[in-house]
Amino acid sequence: MAAQTPKNPEKHSTYLPKTKKSSKPLHDTPMLDQLESGPWPSFVTGLKRLAYEGKHANMMVDLLGQLEHSYKTRLGYWKGGTVSIFGYGGGIIPRFTELMDDDGKPMFPESKEFHTVRVQPPAGNHYSTDMLRQLSNSWNKHGSGLIAFHGQTGNIMFIGTTTDNTQHFFDEINSYGWDLGGAGPCVRTGMSCVGAARCEQSCANEQKIHRLLVNNFLDDMHRPALPYKFKFKVSGCPNDCMNSIQRSDLAVIGTWRDDMKVDQAEVQKFVADKGRKYVVDSVINMCPTRALSLNDDDTLEVDNRNCVRCMHCINVMTRALSTGDDKGVTLLLGGKRTLKIGDTMGTVIVPFMKLDTEEDYEKLVELAEEIIDFWAENALEHERVGETIDRIGLVNFLEGIDLEVDPNMISDARQSSYVRMDTWDEEANKWKDRQTG
């Protein structure tokens, strides 16, 4: 667990330049210094390197000063404000220091402005080293040099610059293909998993979905005017590596409709390798719907009608089992964190949707538009779509976006007898018509 002495101290995460290029002397940072030891790469050492030799090293000298002050007093000292890029209303998180000396002057004047620029990453977070270096160079020129790959919503966060440089930096990177992400009451930056690019579980073209959805709402992203934030996340399968169910307003998750594929020879190998007891205890008995049964010849019986595509057995026996061929996506609406009504999960609004043709994709975009329009018109201020659904009820929301009810939307049918059902026959007929139609 201890850090080893580096083989090549000049090319190591613990490296600090011998000479300091910045003009402003470092503040004492005894507390932060304690975060330089230990084996994990230290962000403090990183900050110090910037304070030694970054293009805006004096800014980082003061930044370290303010941060140390926060560590000492256990309080934060930033406040927001308004900074924007010409033509856009969002995408910047402006920060101005609140830490003033007795004269009301900033205690750490060089970092008194320290804005973050949120930039959308490529779908799937793929980079060439060339492009990484290019982005880094641009930021070193116009900002602190410090980049977070990535923020929790998926943005590349270029952390720390002045109001002026915000524009300069944006102009530069925008010219070679990068655009701002979301901040404020708007469509936010989306996320998609590595998926089809390198994952056998993928049931969708995550990148295409991600780009199509977000790029369709660029106006809603760049000029914030929605009731509140709206996030898209795309996972290629129910493992949901993008945490989309809980952390996005509209989750698009790959799945399949036909039978999973079983390579019985590989199953037998797996059983031979791991033993029957392991297989029963760790696979068969962990299926949530008891859809698996191990035959006496060590082949696997799958009750595909009752398989809920949870992925568990496929995850564990990745060579023997795989997703089916009739792939598509499930849509869930309304996930978010805790404010106002407590955490919500997204809930199913479209159990299955094919995404083969361009028309299929078009339908997805249209539905997203319906959702955002209806929500934008009917939400209270600062109300996420999950809260709107909770307030007006799923059924009313579905009516608003022209979707039919479906039993896949519920985990339990109605338990409360408090309901008025005058129009039962009418509703029952709708269902019957849909079944025959």
């Binding site: 667990m1 083989k7 090319k11 190591h12 995460s13 490296y15 507390m31 932060l32 975060l35 030891s37 230990g38 084996p39 994990w40 790469p41 230290s42 962000f43 900050l47 941060l67 560590y71 256990r74 930033w78 406040k79 927001g80 010409f86 856009y88 920060r95 320290f114 959308q120 779908a123 793929h126 980079y127 080293t129 990484l132 270096r133 880094s136 070193n140 410090l146 977070a148 790959f149 929790q152 952390i159 990068w178 655009d179 989306g190 089809a196 690019a197 390198r198 994952c199 780009r211 660029l218 106006d219 129910p238 493992n239 949901d240 590596c241 169910i245 992925m311 990745t318 795989s322 999960m345």
Partner: protein, 357 residues
């Protein structure tokens, strides 16, 4: 330099294919299976027979030019010049030649960057901005995470857990880090202190009133100025009033504590996705190394590792062994605060005789 403003090109999400490893492009959507030859290395086999080895490397998330160049140099020299970042700020560097794997690993480790975070390891803790940048933080997520990852370094580099462990750390109760197998969050314990002089200028009073989840805030005239008043009996110290109204200072060096929540899970594997649940609170916010947090986290991880069955995530494990056993095994105190009392709390009570003795 032209003084004319430049109109942005609204190019949106860049196309990932521009920067993608050629083997990914070639086999896009046609992968067959994967395995893990060792911790930190994924081996994906395509239906075409193509193979790709991916080395996963932990980072400190915030990277400067030095780190970027250092890492890019390695990737250029030992790999193919392509990299992707995971949702947890790990780098993934792929090669199509198995022989390149070990030298690549060695180069990263020699540079002080750990290889690991795959499979049933504890992967990098996802975290948030903290005192470095946010305007409402109660603590510094980067610092907490650095302190923890130092202690849990070996768990990142091995795959000895019953299943993946996904941790998050957030710097205020808003919890931008999200649900986690183990989530470390700020929990305030005293109502906001109001700087009445500033409220009138800085806060839109009706919207602050509307933000409070328990309707504890009411408009009031204080010292002759329009301000706000908090019913301290009602206030649950959630901090939701602070972002829209900074004069309602909720952060407190002493009374903003840390809390630990466990069992959050987004995946649909086996159980449906679950929210994380409170297990420990009142933990001092103790920079620079937050030893009390580390202690509780290590205790939980250790207990999970020892007691859970194969493939049980922390939430699955607790569902099987029950909360009483969780508190027994971890020796964490169980208090009245562990019993929910928010809307719908009734459903979290034990409405059965299902009891383990």
């Amino acid at each position: 330099m032209s003084e004319q403003p430049r109109f942005p090109t609204e190019s949106g999400v860049p196309d990932g294919f521009q920067y993608m490893h050629p083997a990914y492009i070639k086999n896009f959507g046609n992968w067959a299976y994967h395995d893990r030859p060792r911790p930190g290395v994924l081996h994906h086999v395509a239906k075409s027979g193509d193979e790709v080895w991916t080395v996963r490397v932990g980072t400190q998330r915030q990277l400067g030019p030095y780190e970027i160049n250092l890492l890019c140099d390695i990737i250029d020299q030992y790999a193919d010049g392509y990299v992707r970042f995971t949702i947890r700020s790990n780098m993934e560097v792929s090669v199509t030649d198995e022989a390149k794997v070990q030298p690549l690993i060695d180069a990263f480790e020699d540079a002080g960057y750990p290889v690991g975070g795959t499979g049933n390891s504890l992967t990098m803790i996802s975290h948030t901005q903290g005192w470095l940048h946010c305007d409402i933080p109660g603590t510094d997520a980067s610092g907490v995470v650095k302190a923890l990852m130092d202690e849990l370094y070996d768990e990142f580099r091995s795959e000895d857990m019953p299943n993946r462990v996904h941790m998050t750390t957030s710097c205020c109760q808003i919890n931008c880090g999200g649900q986690g197998d183990i989530a470390i969050n700020v929990q305030h314990t005293k109502p906001p202190k109001i700087n009445h002089d500033l409220v009138a200028n800085v806060c839109e009073r009706p919207s602050v009133v509307a933000r409070c989840p328990v309707a504890a805030i009411r408009p009031a005239i204080v010292n002759g100025k329009p301000s706000l008043e908090v019913d301290e009996k009602k206030c649950i110290c959630c901090g939701a009033c602070f972002p829209p109204c900074p004069p309602m200072q909720i952060n407190d060096p002493e009374h903003s504590k840390l809390a630990i929540w466990v069992g959050g899970k987004h995946s649909n594997a086996r159980s449906k996705p679950m929210f994380h649940k409170l297990v420990a609170a009142g933990i001092p916010n103790n920079p620079p190394r937050w030893p009390e947090v580390t202690e509780v986290v290590k205790n939980i991880l250790h207990t999970y590792k020892a007691d859970a069955k194969n493939w049980e995530r922390i939430g699955d494990w607790i569902e099987r062994i029950g909360w009483p056993r969780f508190f027994e095994l971890t020796e964490l105190p169980f208090t009245k605060f562990h019993i929910d009392n928010w809307t719908g709390a009734r459903k979290s009570l034990n409405a059965s005789t299902h009891i383990r003795f």
